[in-house]
Amino acid sequence: MSAHPTPWRRGRRQWTFHMTPVRYVLVLIVAITVALVVYRLVYGLGAPTNLSDRWPWALWTWWKLTGVALAGAGYSTALCVHFLGRERWRDVERGAFVVSLLGYLMVCTALILDLGQWYNAWHPLYSWGIHSAMFELYYCISAYTVVQIVEFLYIFEERVPVPRLRGVLKRIYVPLLFLGAILPVFHQSALCSLYVIAKGREDPLWWSLLLPVFAVMTSFYVGPAVVAIENLASHRIYGRPVHMRVLVEMVRISAGVMFVYLVLKIVDYGARGVLPELLGGSALGNVALLELGLGVLVPMVMFMSPRIRSSRSGMVVASMLTVLGVVANRFNIVITGMVASSGAGFYRPHWMEVFFVLGLGAAVGLIYLFIVENFPIYTETDVAVSAAVASEEKARLRAMEPSETRTSTHAGHPA
């Protein structure tokens, strides 16, 4: 066993998964979550959550909205590569795609578990409530998940050759590209359109007829930030090179979209006469200001500054702020903005509810690592560099080994 997990190399036959202490913890969290899922399926939704008629949607809804928004990394990257001709972004495309695929699988799992009569989940296939944003969401999100699973077959086929599959995949390549670019725009928007109907209940600081537009914009500009974090994290885990040139190019586009988003937000507040509430110093107004300031304005400025964005730490901080800004925005839409009208105070989740969110996140992390270590996700150069880093590490460990063995015999086996 190597000392360091490495991404899959062309030619490696056996399936591997390198367990580390952190991964053991993640596996434990996932195992407990599976038990909680069984508990939820047996006892219904009331037992493992603090949901009520006052709070029919809360933490899980936030997690779904957030998951889909962050998974926007996949479609925004694909859109830029295949339609806007950003060829260089291909270096990070597959990583973004895997994040996106897993994000959607997680959200679909959560969606089904959040249904009272989940075995009826196929009903929209024949009973069409076309006026509902949920209808749009249902079709687009499930179609897009299927599209992504099929897209994964391209990667799968490179690793496990399947006779005749390649021919089929080649033929459906272009339609898949188009579906993969169009569907996300619709369900991204639909997810926030859900709250348009909460007019009169959602606080005007977050309610707007433009909610669907805001949703698409935020999910688009957060994409590069997620890709940056994914790249920098895989740099730490695998020694994968950081594609700084690509990342800089990407976050510059983010910054542009963030600027338009901010302007549109302010215009929307102004047009609806909510600016006094925003700037009046009320608690909610300050929360909204903080969300826009720290979550959009600050990272936007950082992304615009050539000095900050080209430094690794600047890139990390700005990307983190961008992601947290979107996470906070979804939280405010789902929870903060609904507190007053709920008439039941701030939502206090059940510990199982929180654990469930953790468990889904842990599962996504583990599967991501498994896919990277067993499928061609990174470019050949990336893999070569990672392998070099790993063997260097191995050599360093081997050099240290004698002394280490000696101490362990002393300390570990006193007898």
Binding site: D53, G116, N120, K199, L209
Partner: protein
Amino acid sequence: MSADPPFAETDGPEDGSSGSDGLSRRRFLGTLAIAAGAASIGTTFPPAHRRMTETIRELAEKHGNDPSLLIDLTKCVGCGACVMACKLDNHLEWREDQPAKGPDAALASSNWSVVQAEGRVGRDGESRYVKRQCMHCLEPSCASACFVKALRKSPEGPVLYDGNLCVGCRYCLMACPFSVPTFEWDKTFGRVDKCDFCFARTSKGEPSACAQACPVGAITFGHRASMLEEAWRRIGAEPQKYVPHVYGETEVGGTSMLYLSDVSFEKLGFRTGLPTDPIPSYEWKITRLIPSVAAGLGGTLVALYVRRRRLILEEEDAARTDEEVTA
């Protein structure tokens, strides 16, 4: 505003686009109406705040013959007979943890109707009681929100729920401006519950169980148009007693349930400041755009894709000719 509807004495944001603006104006007009009412008792009815938009008038006309309840809260004594009748008629459980009457009463899976005690809120220092149940909106947001059509507006009027179609997503709970639908949180396979306005009775023109049971005549059953007329007749007859507002006349486009009160509705826990536009119209403003947006987006993507392919091919051609030249 070119064509003033007959009722309209003032204008309002007909498209409902500017929510807060309309809100403050409505509140202002409400005060104005009360002031005017106090100054010239019973001279002009309906008062100024009965702002009828085109939509509300059309809806009121269309649903004039729908079954409707006029609930006069000044008459209610909080006995709970209506709640009892509701439970018996609809075979609902009596649960200790879900009180149907009193200060803690709340709509729940076993309570399709409740009588809430609102403490000493009356001008006379007396308690007031509020009977709550589904409002049966003329344009229900729950039905518009339901993506499997488990909730629908029946042609007869009541808003009905089909538990066999329902997937249990609870979007209706989010969508309802009155927080009426409830969910069976303690069931393995939770469904939604709400009042069906005793559809078996009311669709035949018979009064609902609650209306029939009321011993003090606080609940009147009839066609919506005549209930509205009756409501304004009562206000006109005793303007010093009633708040000059029929709750449910214009709220979210109008509801089948109409309330009269002598205490401001806000004090009684009613959600006030609701838009006068039917709420589904907001969502429909967005969902109806989908086909055109999809077409536009698709077209743009095709154009971008074709352009990119051409660029790639041109580059390849250039590379090939370069090779030939050097060869």
